[in-house]
Symmetry: C2
Subunit: 204 residues, 2 copies
């Protein structure tokens, strides 16, 4: 048994532990999405995972921790992508459009977790709630800067920045409720259609 093999074995046990924790987190996201954080019991969740409720505490610290992990891990992804987009050498229109495309992609690929972020963040305990709101404010501030810069550059109309900001962000939320693969709409098409409306409006 050489060291490579040892690493493999270590990996596989570690991976097993991580994957059980991750199984709990992903089943939790699914359950919270369906029944809400308050409406989901640890026993419900345990059944989905396939173990007893008490056994989950070998992998997670508390029910609150599950919510925190879901909200912040998704939140961080949004932050990272926005930072990435800010750096890209493209027009402000393209930046907004690629942010819209990213939101659509996130909803389609991580619908459960995004849904929890959107709907259950208010059940974070008070300490984490403050942290979450700060993160969200930061995100909104960065997006507002993009819009302001776009207006100054002449790419955007002189719209009310707050209104534009929140209209863009919340206009994406219906996708979470509406999207089903069975509708046969690709995420690229969806992002394009939403962008078209937000960029050019519906008026002929």
């Amino acid at each position: 048994m050489n060291s490579d093999c040892l690493v493999d074995i270590t990996m596989s046990t570690t991976k097993l532990k991580i994957s059980k924790r991750e199984k709990i987190l992903s089943e939790a996201a699914k359950l919270f999405r369906e029944k809400g954080f308050g409406g989901s019991s640890m026993r419900d969740l345990a059944e989905k995972v396939g173990i007893e409720a008490a056994s989950m505490y070998n992998h997670i610290r508390s029910k609150d921790e599950i919510l925190e992990e879901i909200c912040f891990s998704v939140g961080r992804k949004y932050d990272e992508q926005l930072t990435e987009i800010e750096k890209q050498p493209c027009s402000f229109s393209e930046k907004i459009e690629s942010l819209i495309a990213f939101h659509v992609k996130m909803i389609i690929e991580n619908g459960d977790a995004v849904s929890v972020l959107n709907n259950d963040w208010k059940f974070l305990n008070s300490k984490k709630l403050v942290e979450f709101k700060a993160m969200r404010n930061e995100y909104e501030k960065h997006l507002a800067s993009l819009i302001t810069a776009g207006i100054e550059e002449g790419s955007f109309k002189p719209v009310n920045v707050s209104v534009a900001l929140f209209t863009i962000l919340s206009s994406l939320r219906w996708v979470e409720l509406w999207y089903k693969p069975s509708r046969g709409v690709t995420k690229e098409d969806l992002a394009k259609d939403i962008s078209a409306i937000l960029m050019n409006g519906i008026k002929a």
Copy 2:
């Protein structure tokens, strides 16, 4: 004591009962908005109302009934207004704009109840949930017809109707989280700014 007086007395006792029930409903809306339906207990609610939890059962049948009453009474208001707008002799653009204005007005004037409708409808019991979804589908179908008609008439671009429909509806949802009288924005201005973006987009 004439019959007018009798009516008055009857009215006042009736009114007292109604107003206590209504107090429960409005406090419930406020509490559900803040903590969610599942996160709000009857004891919490009773404290806000100023009586014991058990005493509330003189006025309401169950916790579920409170949620139903809130969701359906607000839902009916939306239905009625949409029907009203459909009848008005004006362009399809104006119809959409006046629907947007109505949504803004509802959120500002009945923010708590609208918030419950938006966030807690999924906790309706299964029978009422079916009814609720039917109501919502009906609403969406009517709005979709307005958009389709507007496109056919040439007032609107040939946008994807579903996308336009849901973008309009959910783009209004941030108002619920954002609006504070202290911001000094009137609901008319707000509706105008939102309409401007949805009608003409942000692109210069």
